[in-house]
Symmetry: C2
Amino acid sequence: MDNLFKPQHLRDFMTEIFLSFDLPHEDSLLATDVLAYSDEHGIDSHGVARLKTYYDLLKAGKINPKPKMRVVREKTSVSTVDGDNGLGLVIGPKCMEMAMDKAGKHGSGWVAVRNTNHYGAAGYYPIMALPKNMIGLSMTNSSKGVAPFNGKEKMLGTNPIAMAFPTEKEPPVVVDFASSTVAYGKVEIAKRKGEKVPLGWCIDKEGRATTVPDAMMEGGALLPLGGTKEGSGHKGFCLATMVDVLTAVLSGANWGPFATPFAIHVAPPERKVGKGIGHFFGAWDIDGFIEVDEFKRNMDDWIKTMRATPPLPGAEKVMIPGDPERLAYAKRIKNGIPLNGEVIKSLEIISRETGIPLPEHTLSSGDG
Amino acid sequence: MDNLFKPQHLRDFMTEIFLSFDLPHEDSLLATDVLAYSDEHGIDSHGVARLKTYYDLLKAGKINPKPKMRVVREKTSVSTVDGDNGLGLVIGPKCMEMAMDKAGKHGSGWVAVRNTNHYGAAGYYPIMALPKNMIGLSMTNSSKGVAPFNGKEKMLGTNPIAMAFPTEKEPPVVVDFASSTVAYGKVEIAKRKGEKVPLGWCIDKEGRATTVPDAMMEGGALLPLGGTKEGSGHKGFCLATMVDVLTAVLSGANWGPFATPFAIHVAPPERKVGKGIGHFFGAWDIDGFIEVDEFKRNMDDWIKTMRATPPLPGAEKVMIPGDPERLAYAKRIKNGIPLNGEVIKSLEIISRETGIPLPEHTLSSGDG
């Protein structure tokens, strides 16, 4: 059974941990805000569940707690930033701000980032653009876990793409998805429950389609969105390609199978082809294209039109991208954030080592 | 059995047809070049096979043969263009040029287009950016054919996205794919052959998964990329959403189910929410991010690395986005372009009505 934590208590704990590594106060709050966004919005795989990995990497001196970001190249609406091996959770929001500054001045702004690390949930960043009446975009590459279409070895990360669109009265449209059929975490969850996974999610080490989580985890690979030939798996490979090139080849980061692993005990990739991993941030100023009010009114209309689609027999109603996260948020802010025993165990280790007490928590009576 | 046409003969025929509607000479050549790109690269659904529809729409006065494009809004690196109801095949390349001009000056350039029509294959446009050492992007919305995830009615077009990345010695990487699992044309082909289609491609008019082409064509719908819940069909819906908003809501075109149909005998949508359909073009100047030579060298390395992935058992080798079209091009430029009886019949009608002779052709001995 899960345990429930108060959102602010979890935030305070995370901030204390970051401060213990001498991160500047502002940076500790920023990194906390990015991780808390995931926990508070039901994206369990990208929040405090990963604190232990950030902690291990900081402790081992593999991530720089006080990075000096610098612009290495620039041209009006675009630039490349070197993240000085800082936390993606800190470098990310700062680079998204830079992209928005450029968009405010020049109609659009684009920042490619190299020498950075895992940046949490991709959706956090485009949402930053909404109060400025901009459309935001973020992408990141990540360590290999996905096979290219027709290939049998891991060559690409789950390379997510996220965009957010402002609205008038309706909630904003927030798109955030990995370019693989599912994230690694979904296969992990099936394994924990002793369940099989659908065909099309992954292959084993021989490249055979498999429904057995262990078969994927022991030398197999996830499949790109679409999965098989019949499902148009080449399209997921196209998406992963776009993300890998824009985030890593364009910025000078490690691309494809050479992306830096987000783990402490994994051997480094056989080649180094750039610096750290890569992100790509962008913003379009709506005012440069159309009256902002007209755009927002039409977005509301668009949302209502899509919601009115009759649902498939037996299916839930048609939801808008961003709805599931908003529903989770409403519930979790009220009831607390459910963490499972494994995650709590990882936080207990951190607590023991740092002397920072674990926040109080209560047994959950449901799914939180 | 297919008939083979010489590429230049088909081009000349198309140009003559466009000229017969008093399109300016330059515009006729441009529209021809866009359609010929598809035929010459094996994208049979988007080339001369659609000439009859453009012809019908021009003949009925539904498309403006002499549009006066105008910039309706602008801000340094972005702008919105009204296509004056011209052919997308003419408005498209001109707007892509505008995006590249902006990218040359400001590092990136973005043009949203409204009041335009079907623009052929999405991949044509980003390829224009390659000789300028830019990364190109194009998207378009299109008339409804695809259900939103969990919905049972057509609400979105197949809304494709295309990008192209320059290289040094390797061929360029060209991504071009619809956000539905498959294009309508793939189901049509199965129907013609009397074959079933895989589950996950489409639903019937009751929203039930179907493998019968007719069941989709008679009131059913295509499914977004990913198809089912297990296949992560919500991700295809996210993609279609991104394309619909950037092309149509942002430009002031008809979005979602209200996109103008690309056909002469289809009733207009029940509501008009903008002008025509919408495109979105973009370009990033690589030189604004990184040394162009370094980028291209790394792209070559990226391509070789991906190609070296061991293939799935029994699968073809791993191909790079753009490979299938290049293979088709090499074959077709040499052997000719294969057209089936149905397409030839449509060209014969045009020929008869205009008095422009159909180009000579020979029976194909294979697949062309």
